[in-house]
Amino acid sequence: MTDIPILSIIVFLPLLGAVCVSFIPGQNKPFIKLVAFLFSFITFLLSVSLFFLFNPSVGTFQFMEFVPWISSIGANYSIGIDGISLFLLMLTTFLTSIAILYSFRSIGSKVKEFMIFMLFLNTTMLGVFVSLDMLLFYLFWEAMLIPMYFLIGIWGGERRVYATMKFFLYTMFGSVLMLAAILYIYFMHQKATGISTFDLQSLLAYSTAYLPFKTRLFLFLGFAIAFAIKVPLFPFHTWLPDAYTEAPIPGNLLLAGILVKMGVYGFLRFAIPFFPEVSRDFFYPIGILAVIGIIYGALIAYVQKDMKKLIAYSSFSQVGFIMLGIFSFTDTGMTGGVLQMINHGLSISALFLLVGMLYDRTGKRGINDFGGLSGSMPVFSAFLLITILSSIGLPGLNGFVGEFLILLGVFKVNIALTAIASTGIILSAIYMLWMFQKVSYVTPADREVKKLPDLSLREILILVPIILMMFWLGLYPKPFLSRIEPSVKNLITVTAPGHFVAPVASQFLSDKKIPEKTFLKSLPGK
């Protein structure tokens, strides 16, 4: 498309920023903040340019770059994006800028190290979304744990060390299973074709067409557990309450806004296309787990007294919808799922930001610690209301579009699950509005609360872009949907039964080497 490796620039610009920040003396906090923000913001602007350069009529990968990396084992630096990763990429750069802007006030100590880790985290997250090489993907996926470990562990709440250790070990456990699965596919492919490669497309075509079903089942589980831990899907969610509660707010933003999406993205990019039949068979197990998650998360959220915990569980609950939509294997459901990833990213970060802003003022987060904020903090209350309405899916705001599409898609597959999942929306309305009512209207026990200052200009500047996006996505989602849909359609075509026919399957089964050409003929578009 262009000669400028724009994707690489976007991915590695934050890393460059981290290096720059590391050379600034630690006392010069304002300058560190400025430099860090500028780097993240420029990255964001560049990613916005992708939105316009992106060709919405194509469902396959764009902005591809390819550089040989470890030639002896067939790993390459191969990156590119499609409609699904485009928006996740933009969401990442957007939320990172917001998180850095927010942290100007909330992070008082060790600012330099904080910014370095934030920018490093940004690079690894972006890397996950653009990698088209399994080894490269895994490298970014695992590397991401390091900065997150530090962010929770250094700047987190009281039980931060426990939370961060749990997060790290839990995620790493899932990842190593995935690594085993990746290696297995890699060697099966190498054994059959004689080509060693970690290239996503080649491995994908091979595994869908030639692996025995039982093997595929195990490999799918290897991937699925890794991603289900990240999502998290019930019952792999136990790291989430700890990590969310203890993380600093900017960390929350990236945890809930993006890290969680990586799990879903992993399903979309790897687990589903690699093992379409198995995935289809897993609609019920995963769908039921997702629905359990929706209801269970909502019920737990309902009894929380700590706002941050409430949001943590509501996030867990809403992720169930995304999973449900994606595993419906209908284009409406899947498109809705992808869109809902963005919606969820926006609304959950706005909620965390709002709670963080209250926490900055009072050092408290209990629902009962506040009340009557609509009087003392009208702007805050208005933002909170819009965010809550978006999060519970009020028509006109973003949450509605995604949830509606998801339920529409799932409805075509299974009515019972749709019905149960829908009650999750009602439950979310109950606990969210209850929280809003408590915080904004009920007269507070503590008189100090009445004197809280309203949002500052910086805080408004942080929130306004998110709110605007909520309206845009709610009222006119077409520019987004038009870019997501072709990729989703492409995914559905690829995962349709019998898409990768196996004309030379007998040769594969007999473990003989076949010439590359014969094999490549069976790939789409060749």
Binding site: E113, Y149, I154, V161, T164, A180, L183
Partner: protein, 474 residues
């Protein structure tokens, strides 16, 4: 031609003698001259080895050989010894140990390791082993007057002799079975159906594994490791964990790469069991350690277990991945011991893991490097440790041992816990006791080089992997 082949080893031995003589005869002995002479010897020998690259030689029917395998390992030993000398310099001064003998013993031990890597003859290999063990036994109690140092040395010496006896016994059985102690010849004879007694050969292989298992501290031959690592002066511990262990692996690979395919006999199950118990025990016990040297001792046991994973099947890919893994392990381990050496004042060392508390906010760069070394040992990308593990595991899958890989992967999650604990202490815990830091130029430079290497090989492993892969045993 004779001297040409011998040159790298000869240079090292002569440098050792030169250092000794200089220390005794020179009028005004400047301590840094000892270091410079030794380093010069090591570097010249490294360069000489590099010249021999790609020119395979064999002297007296494989009594001494120079092939790419021996050169890779020789360079490996020479460089790690050079780093050991660099990181130990001020430590020696502060403990009044800075004498020529130290340098000479390190150099002699290095020569022993080089012998171990460059022979087909088991007796020469045994001589190399002893040439390594005796200087090490002296080095372990180099810091006089400490009881546990002496205990460590004695323990090491006695168990070494014990394991050497097994090794010798193994050689004797080999001779009884095959009529020769040249392993290449044993394999050759076997493939041409010469008369070889298979049961005796099996006993021999078992005894050889036992003897070398001690060197690489594989479970159940590991009991000496924690005590000796703890009792030895820290630079010597680093030397044990880097050089001595790798030399054991060099010998193991050399012997069994030639023996296994030749005798159509697989000891795969033996190595699987050794591998799994070694890494599991090492990792689990390491979690309970409060002393950083003991923790690293158990971690080094665990790492031996990982390497044994690929040695279940001896293919060129297995060997190149084992060498690559050993390399990244040594880089990170030398670095970690370097940091341990920095936490000290004069002759007092701070080796409790709690002494790392809050280091990050006092010495950010030092703690940053320690974090890199720990993450590399844990195998988290983008460090070299990840690439090492990745390559190792991928070859093991290729060899057909997916279950073993899963055991290894779960182990690496276990291991992440205790490596991350150091990181946690450095970054997330307040400093309790004022721990002094003694950083001197040669240590700083070494740490810097090792730290950069630990990242560099994690991102660009390609050249070095192809070097190991394409030119092995040519």
């Amino acid at each position: 031609m004779f001297s040409y082949l011998f040159m790298p080893i000869i240079i090292v031995v002569f440098t050792g003698l030169l250092v000794l003589l200089y220390d005794v005869l020179a009028v005004n002995v400047r301590k840094e001259h000892l270091l410079f002479i030794s380093l010069a010897g090591l570097i010249i020998s490294t360069l000489y080895s590099a010249i021999l690259w790609g020119l395979p030689f064999s002297f007296m029917k494989g009594m001494l050989v120079s092939d790419n395998f021996s050169i890779i390992f020789s360079v490996f030993f020479l460089l790690s010894s050079a780093f050991i000398l660099l990181i130990s310099y001020t430590y020696l001064n502060d403990n009044n140990l800075n004498v020529g003998e130290y340098y000479a013993l390190v150099l002699f031990a290095t020569a022993g390791m080089m012998f171990m890597a460059s022979t087909f003859n088991l007796i020469v290999l045994y001589l190399g082993l002893e040439l390594l063990t005796l200087p090490l036994a002296i080095l372990i109690c180099f810091k006089k007057g400490r009881d546990f140092s002496h205990e460590a040395s004695l323990k090491f010496f006695i168990l070494s002799v014990f394991s050497s006896a097994f090794f010798l016994f193994g050689i004797a059985f080999m001779f009884g079975a095959a009529g020769t102690i040249n392993i290449a010849q044993v394999a050759g004879d076997f493939s041409t159906h010469a008369v070889i007694s298979l049961p005796y050969l099996l006993i021999s292989a078992g005894l050889l594994i036992l003897g070398l298992g001690f060197k690489i501290s594989s479970v159940p031959f590991h009991i000496w490791t924690p005590d000796v690592y703890h009792g030895a002066p820290t630079p010597v511990t680093a030397f044990l964990s880097a050089g001595a262990k790798v030399a054991g692996f060099a010998a193991l690979i050399r012997i069994f790469f030639y023996l296994f395919p030749g005798i159509h006999l697989s000891l795969t199950e033996v190595f699987i069991v050794l591998s799994v118990i070694t890494m599991t025990l090492g990792n689990i016990v390491a979690i309970a350690q409060r002393n950083i040297k003991r923790m690293l001792a158990y971690s080094s046991i665990a790492h031996s277990g990982y390497v044994l994973m690929v040695l279940t099947v001896f293919t060129p890919a297995s060997i190149s991945s084992a060498i690559f893994y050993l390399m990244v392990y040594v880089i990170a381990n030398l670095g970690a011991f370097g940091i341990v050496l920095a936490l000290r004042q004069k002759d007092r060392e701070y080796i409790d893991i709690m002494h790392f508390s809050g280091l990050a906010w006092k010495r950010p760069l030092l703690a940053g490097f320690m974090a890199i070394f720990m993450l590399s040992l844990a195998g988290v990308p983008p460090t070299a440790g990840f690439m090492g593990k990745f390559y190792l595991f991928s070859v093991t899958v290729k060899n057909g041992f997916t279950g073993l890989v899963i055991a290894g992967l779960i182990n690496s999650v276990l291991a992440a816990y205790y490596y991350l604990r150091i990181v946690y202490l450095m970054y997330m815990k307040e400093e309790k006791e004022n721990v002094p830091v003694t950083l001197f130029p040669s240590l700083g430079v070494s740490l810097f080089i090792l730290g950069i290497a630990a990242i560099y090989f994690g991102i660009f492993p390609s050249p070095i992997i192809s070097l190991f892969k394409t030119t092995l045993f040519h």
